[in-house]
Symmetry: C2
Subunit: 461 residues, 2 copies
């Protein structure tokens, strides 16, 4: 980080406190908007409101893009309608769309009405794409040239069309109808002789996204091709926008956060943990917690069927938490691994049989390990304590055998449930680990007590 | 995706089967290595080995970069020493380093000896940086110019130094001592008059990484500054490499995968789920599963202290799974949210008190919700069944109160454990959700039976 950051913000704050707009302008002019924006965006809202009245539209827009959605909303409310309109029109279309989307519909509509007809059209077009689709993320600031232009003509064209914000890494080649026919790295224009035809730089090989692609799929395409930008084409193969890798970094983070939060057994918060309102967070968490609780109530029902057995052999009850949690842990592991592999596109649904065989083998081995440890623990313990009674060997056998069965069962359920959910059209991450654990708990109890009944019949039971 | 992909691979396969290298060359020449590499990398290893003998070093290197580490290793073994040497020397330094790192030390050293002295020096330098550090990921293919050069001189310099592989998005300005003094987007060179001095394009504001930065930190810097590339400087502020956003996409994925797998209660697999050897996967999973199992054994110990109570009131045992799983679920939620927020840099350790207060409030509300549901469930059920006996109200009170206490306790433990682990220098994701659940299970049992003792003393107990 440059040393600029530290002193710069304090100086700006002082100038803002004094409303010294002339000095502010002098201070800010030498900098590129994109370079000071991240620093200025850390100022408190009130100072930002003053800043926005005294600085260029371009800088306001850049700073605005760096704010959290919440701060954006608060800031807009402190501006006059004319100021808000100027700011919104200046924003890049993709940033504006993602901000408008999180607002209540009525507020969003009011803001959309402030836009110029041209920007309003773009915004409404982008908002028409599904949430989390490529269409929502694309920017329209791309450079398209024609194949019969020379490199010199292309560079002149690029120079005369001031492309302000997004990085210019790729130049796109389109025909008269706007159909994408190639993408060329800007570097190649730099290295080529000015009179070379664009067609001579073309290789005809390019990857594209479509606006309705899910952003998770876009992420896979980006990772596969190692590109800093990918073009977006409509069903007629016309170039309608581009998506850049730096935006994908945010997507990668957000997608992972969503999956992680769902795996942790709550809804995706969609807001930073530190800033989300407490009641909103509790609501997001309570939903799944109650569903899991209702599911888990079945354990009480299952247990009640074995009440007589427990009364006869209280020792059985002692191992209930151990047994069911082991099944749950094994299920969590399998579910997590499978869900992540699905998200990364490592396999497809039709591979389910291969996954199942793998998990069968893994579950058997893992269950075997835990079963042996459990068996030994009880047998060894029984040498020093009378806690498990004279039939400790039967107890050890029951616990050991149950562990094998339950860990195997947990691994199978954990790996298959995400695939089933995906097949049914749900997000596999929703079959979060606790959800699998709950399912495994109920079935685990039945396995445990059934085995106990088989092994201990005639002795303890 | 271009239509090329589908037919292209089949045609290449056929040419390889016939060892028709002449036709192969004709077929491949029109394409850029970076464009066919992802397609060719999907060929089976045996065909790749044939391909590498018949195609250019540049293309071999590009294809090689797209392979999984495992495939790379297998492929190298099929090549002659001279072929392997040529290939390794051609690889970009960052790709070579990350590949060498996963090999057994002796194999890696043999391969390093095949490198030219210059490449060997670079490789050993990069390997000297810690795993998952920025130093390991950086590439040396950057363009550095001097401030007193003109734009024309800079562009000539760029043209004469053929920069082959990495995208050229930023031009770096250094002084005579190689110290970084600015970074400038290539776009600005395109838009500037040829006689403009580089110094006129400079704004003196730039973000940098250091080679020892953890890649997770680099990810945060990238996300903050929305850059497609960031320069890496040593402690003397000398420019020593750059990191590009497309490489960061892979990092973002891998970091998320690691965290998700740890949260799911296994070690990070470090290899795709679908290709990792079964025994290796079982080993990675068994470790934590056994640790959790040993921890969970404490539940049997805890339960045994309450054996008399269970014998007197078997009804208590029925709710054990429900009670402990609710605590575990609440703990998982809190742990997951806090771990993810930590990974995203949303808060710091010193904020622990704020987090704890939030989780106290959230835990109390969530526990209240579950407590009421649990209480009502038992009371209503008791109207239709005699299963809970005449003291069903006491049972309902015990379960309801325990749920409040256990969910609150789970939320607090879940949120604080990651912070404690981080404070102690461990990866907070290691305090995986099942780990929290196990801890909460044991303490939950104590809370439950203690409350039961208080509420039921003199009646059921």
């Amino acid at each position: 980080m440059t040393a600029l950051n530290n002193s710069f913000k304090t100086e700006i704050s002082t100038l803002l406190a004094n409303k010294d707009f002339a000095a502010l302008k002098v201070k800010l002019t030498p900098w590129l908007a994109a370079d000071v924006a991240p620093i200025l965006s850390e100022l408190p809202i009130e100072e930002l409101a003053v800043l926005f009245r005294g600085c260029s539209k371009e800088l306001s827009a850049a700073v605005f893009s760096y704010l959290e959605h919440n701060a954006k909303h608060k800031l807009l409310k402190t501006l006059t309608q004319a100021q808000a309109a100027a700011l919104l029109n200046e924003l890049p279309a993709d940033d504006r769309t993602s901000f408008l989307h999180v607002l209540p519909l009525d507020v969003a509509m009011q803001l959309i009405c402030l836009l110029t007809p041209e920007e309003r059209k773009i915004t409404q077009d982008l908002l028409a794409y599904p949430e989390h689709s490529v269409g929502r993320m694309m920017t329209l600031d791309f450079v398209a040239v024609h194949a019969d232009w020379s490199v010199r003509e292309s560079l002149d064209y690029i120079r005369t069309h001031g492309f302000d914000r997004e990085t210019l890494n790729m130049v796109y080649v389109t025909d008269e109808g706007g159909h994408l026919i190639d993408d060329i790295r800007v570097r190649r224009f730099l290295l080529a002789e000015p009179e070379t035809k664009v067609s001579a730089l073309m290789d005809g090989n390019y990857a594209t996204l479509t606006p309705t692609d899910d952003r998770e799929k876009a992420l896979q395409v980006f990772r596969k091709y190692d590109r800093v930008a990918l073009p977006v084409t409509n069903t007629e193969s016309q170039l309608i926008g581009i998506v850049t890798a730096d935006d994908m970094l945010d997507v990668a983070s957000e997608e992972a956060t969503e999956d992680i939060q769902k795996l942790g057994g709550s809804e995706a918060l969609d807001e930073p943990y530190t800033t989300i309102a407490l009641t909103k967070m509790v609501k997001k968490r309570a939903g799944w917690l109650v569903v899991l609780f209702l599911g888990e109530m079945l354990t009480a029902t299952a247990m009640s069927y074995f009440e007589d057995e427990i009364a006869k052999a209280v020792v059985l009850a002692l191992f209930v938490p151990l047994i069911i949690s082991s099944g749950g842990n094994a299920g969590s592991q399998a579910a997590t691994l499978v869900i992540r592999a699905l998200a990364l596109g490592e396999f497809r649904l039709r591979d389910w049989w291969r996954i199942m065989r793998r998990e069968f083998a893994a579950g058997l081995m893992l269950g075997g390990i835990l079963g042996v440890i459990g068996f030994l623990r009880i047998v060894i313990w029984a040498q020093f304590s009378g806690i498990y009674g004279e039939h400790y060997l039967l107890v050890a056998e029951t616990v050991g055998a149950s562990l094998v069965g339950i860990v195997l069962w947990g691994s199978l359920m954990g790996s298959m449930l995400p695939l089933i959910l995906k097949k049914l059209g749900f997000d596999p991450a929703t079959s979060s680990a606790p959800f699998v654990a709950t399912l495994v708990d109920v079935t685990g109890l039945i396995i445990y007590f059934s085995l106990a009944f088989l092994i201990m019949r005639g002795t303890l039971l």
